[in-house]
Amino acid sequence: MRFLTLMEKLRVPLMIFPAVALICVLFFGGLTVGLGQSLGYFPAIGSYNLTFQYYSDVLTDSTFFESLWLTFRLALLSTVSSSVLAIGIAMVLRQSFKGSRFFTFMFQLSIPIPHLVAAAGIVLLVSQSGLTARIAYALGLINVPRDFPVMVFDRPGIAIQLTYLWKEVPFIGVVVLAVLQGVGPQYEEIARTLGANAWQRFRYVLLPLIMPGVLSTSIIVFAYVFSSYEIPLLLGVRYPTTLPVLAFKNYQDPDLSLRPQAMAMSIILTVIAVLLLVIYKRLAKYAVNS
């Protein structure tokens, strides 16, 4: 009997322990090592003294802030435009019509496709000598590749954002679609009989219902874009580059003394990510409540 109550007591801890332990060791362990190195605790190069030197190095470097701004801008723009497009497409796909299953499948198509492949596809499509440019040439719209708008290796990072859009719109859209299908048509019908026109029904009835789903998927998207490495590396300009690229470049520099700086950048990146999440959740709560 006592054994049974003990088991009862231990049930939850036993269930959560493996996951929590793995995440703590792998993720928070890694984070702690990084934090240590960023503070100068780096036995491998014989450094044990704790210092904020590397943070001040990073925070006084304009390169860091340019990278931060770029990273933030890319993440924000990609997230907002993905969300808007996703909601729009989900609104169309939720209607029942012939072939809706086919179109829903096509909409989901890019979800499993790796970002790397997406990036290659986007380059082949929108570079100045890409397929679109060639079509433009065939139509007589341009004469030479440089007449075509710059979208790859450009400062605004258009190809980067297109890649993210292509990947993330369906991700958010699928969640919105799931919510919309769960909601059913009745709220809208009530609103309609109460005199709400199409825009009002969307704005006051549907949008508040799908907003929580949109907000949390967009956090995931924002975090992903904020932390991604390959896409800006492959499609972006050399300078300024995104924070993860910059941090990793410093980390992989044969000059090991740059590592603490890389770690300091990572820790700052982490703090910013968590901070943004907190602000975002506050804002979201406020937005949903009012």
Partner: protein, 347 residues
């Protein structure tokens, strides 16, 4: 104050005709119940009145004006559903004020009207509650208030009480009835519960398979059903085949007198019917319209006793006093009062 006329209203879904050439008139300020088993087309009709669904043919007229080309949001026909009552993202005040907000009513005026209507549904000061904090009945009342606050031309209720428990349902019926009377809004409500329809409605439209069977005041469905199906729906299966000749009907069990001024079937083959509560047991000797019936089953029901009788090969249900005594298998005389007999067409 609006009259609603449905003219030859027809709607098909694929091969299924959900509503077939429905003609109906709802007088100004009247409360009409659309009654019938599920799938009979009552909700489809309701949706056609709101404009959420367009008819294939026919017309919907409010005060004589065709509404077919008027979109739902401009019709002023407000709907209250049984499920998904309140917008979950809004509080009570916002829910009730929704329709006014859509019309662009000024905030102060809106708040005033919202609190006024909340008082009417007996939820004063509930503006800031969230929907999920309310009980089922309270939610129902908020949904009603939300519909009423815009002063609709027509109020449409789709099984509004189906999700409530028995006591609450009673309370809500009275509330709906009193508010509807007070505000004089032409209203339609859909239900599959004949008791509810009888209690609430000025008139009942009974539908089977998309076809209107009978449209009349509630009493008529008990006293003067137009078919065995209607009678059956109102729990009357007591029937006996016979031949009418003037004020008598010849049956296998004898000759029964009928009130010629009341019954409508012409002479010839008919079915004689009488409601379970109208059959007299223990008739005085020599009473007219007495026949013999065999007791099949006796069930004590608290307020009365229910008997199953074999009447000339038909199984009848009869209600008696609670203290009525009978043995199964016994043959007893029953009286079918002439003033209560109703004739149905023979099948």
């Amino acid at each position: 104050m609006t009259t609603v006329v449905l003219r030859d209203l027809t709607r098909r879904f694929g091969n299924v005709t959900a509503v077939d050439r429905l003609n109906l008139e709802i007088a100004s300020g009247e409360l009409v119940a659309f009654l019938g088993p599920s799938g009979c087309g009552k909700t489809t009709t309701l949706r056609m009145i709101t404009g959420l669904l367009l008819p294939i043919s026919g017309d919907v007229l409010f005060d004589g004006k065709s509404m077919i080309t008027v979109p739902t949001e401009k019709r002023g026909a407000v709907m209250v559903f049984q499920k998904h009552l309140l917008f979950p993202t809004m509080n009570v005040g916002q829910n009730v004020g929704f329709g006014l907000r859509m019309q662009g009513v000024e905030k102060k005026e809106m708040n005033r009207r919202v609190s006024e209507i909340l008082e009417l549904v007996k939820l004063p000061g509930f503006e800031n509650r969230r929907a999920h904090e309310l009980s089922g009945g309270q939610q129902q009342r908020v949904a009603l208030a939300r519909a009423l606050v815009v002063r609709p031309k027509v109020l449409l209720l789709d099984e509004p009480l189906a999700n409530l428990d028995a006591n609450l349902r009673l309370e809500m019926r009275e509330l709906i009835r009193s508010i509807q009377r007070e505000m004089g809004i032409s209203s339609v409500f859909v239900t599959h519960d004949q008791e509810e329809a009888v209690m609430l409605a000025d008139r009942i439209a009974l539908m089977f398979d998309g076809v209107l069977q009978q449209y009349d005041v509630p009493q008529a469905f008990y006293q003067k059903p137009l078919s065995t199906r209607v009678a059956h729906f109102f729990r009357n299966d007591n029937a006996l085949a016979g031949t009418r000749r003037g004020d008598v009907v010849e049956t296998a069990l004898g000759t029964l007198r009928v009130d010629a001024a009341r019954v409508q079937q012409p002479d010839g083959q008919v079915l004689v019917t009488v409601r379970p509560e109208d059959v007299r047991l223990n008739p005085e000797a020599g009473s007219p319209n007495c026949i013999q019936a065999k007791v099949l089953l006796v069930v004590y029901m608290g307020t009365h006793t229910q008997l199953q009788l074999d009447v000339g090969g038909h199984t009848w249900l009869v209600h008696s006093d609670a203290d009525f005594q009978a043995r199964v298998g016994e043959t007893i005389p029953i009286e079918l009062p002439a003033s209560r007999l109703w004739l149905l067409p023979a099948n």
